[in-house]
């Protein structure tokens, strides 16, 4: 980031390559729309580039990136309605059985739809925790809340998901 702060675009390319997957995962799981997720990720990296000369490494870079991605995702959902889950492309699935494949797809759609029914902050906390393995501290920093509040968000989110996904939890 130091080199990027001095205008070294190649050094910044390295940062993009290293962290774009995590940023993309959070954005696409939150927005459930590939195009909007791409816009958010690009916008996030541009903002980081613009502010690179003022960057202070007070936290992990990933946390800094998530903070920006979270804010942009939440802004995005406030501006426009997300596309329905069914519009997403098929999931890559290595299983040979067509029935199993169908079941996995159905389950994935159910989980995505359930996540979409959560309030923004609960959804983001769940995504960061279970898909990016963020600790409570990192979630709290990204969402600009206390650790206790992050724990409460996760707890409420999980309770709601247990209700929404009861069918899949019994199987």
């Amino acid at each position: 980031m130091k080199a990027a702060g001095l205008g070294d675009a190649r050094a910044f390319d390295e940062i993009v390559l290293r962290h774009q997957q995590a940023a993309w995962n959070v954005a696409v799981r939150f927005l459930e729309n590939s195009e909007a997720a791409s816009d958010v990720v690009q916008d996030a990296f541009l903002r980081i580039w613009d502010a690179a000369s003022r960057y202070q490494p007070t936290a992990q870079f990933r946390t800094y990136l998530f903070r920006i991605v979270c804010r942009l995702c939440i802004d995005c959902t406030r501006r426009k309605k997300p596309l329905p889950v069914e519009n997403l492309p098929d999931l890559p699935d290595p299983t040979p059985s067509a029935m199993e494949n169908l079941l996995l797809q159905e389950r994935a759609i159910a989980v995505r739809q359930a996540l979409l029914q959560l309030p923004d902050s609960q959804r983001m906390a769940i995504i960061m925790r279970y898909y990016e393995q963020c600790g409570y501290t990192e979630i709290a920093e990204a969402l600009n809340i206390t650790e206790k509040a992050a724990e409460r968000l996760l707890s409420r989110g999980r309770k709601r998901l247990e209700t929404l996904l009861i069918k899949w939890l019994r199987e």
């Binding site: 001095l6 993009v16 799981r29 990720v41 996995l104 989980v111 409570y136 996904l165």
Partner: protein, 161 residues
């Protein structure tokens, strides 16, 4: 600890975010309480269900899009086009910056002082002094030492006419 308190801790327990003491308390309770044990299992099932949904692959052109946008922004940005001296200044340590500042100030001060001296030296009114000196010899009789000295000063070839 009662079931209500334990239930509150089950999310953090399932997430592995409890400290060792809290974890031990929860596990102790789970050993004797079937209802809370079932809740803990349900929490684990939910975690497994959530993580079973794979991530979508990053679009192949995303990296190129970001890099192009960054370069485009960079070309327009003045922030990232700092002169080399500013880049050096930003990179230098505090003692180095202090030393550089000191050298700069001392150099500037010496330069100013020297230029003042030169100005004073070159702007001294030499002509009146010379006139005064020459005038003081004006009344000297021909053949006197004063007249010879005056001749020596006023001729360019060392006194020979």
């Amino acid at each position: 600890m009662d079931c209500g308190r334990i239930q509150e801790k089950l999310t953090a327990y399932a997430d592995g975010q409890l400290n060792p003491k809290e974890r031990e308390t929860v596990e102790e309770h789970l050993r004797v309480c079937p209802a809370c044990r079932e809740s803990a299992l349900q929490a684990q099932r939910l975690s497994n269900l959530l993580v079973s949904v794979p991530a979508l692959p990053v679009p192949t052109d995303l990296t190129a899009q970001i890099q192009a946008a960054v370069r485009n922004r960079s070309a327009r940005s003045k922030i990232h086009r700092m002169p080399a001296i500013m880049v050096w200044w930003r990179e230098a340590s505090v003692p180095l910056r202090a030393a550089a500042s000191f050298i700069l100030v001392v150099t500037f001060a010496l330069g100013t002082l020297m230029s003042l001296k030169i100005t004073q030296a070159t702007s001294r009114p030499l002509e009146p002094v010379v006139d005064y000196g020459l005038n003081s010899f004006a009344g000297a009789p021909d053949g006197s030492l004063e007249q010879a000295y005056l001749d020596l000063l006023t001729t360019s070839n060392g006194g020979e006419q």
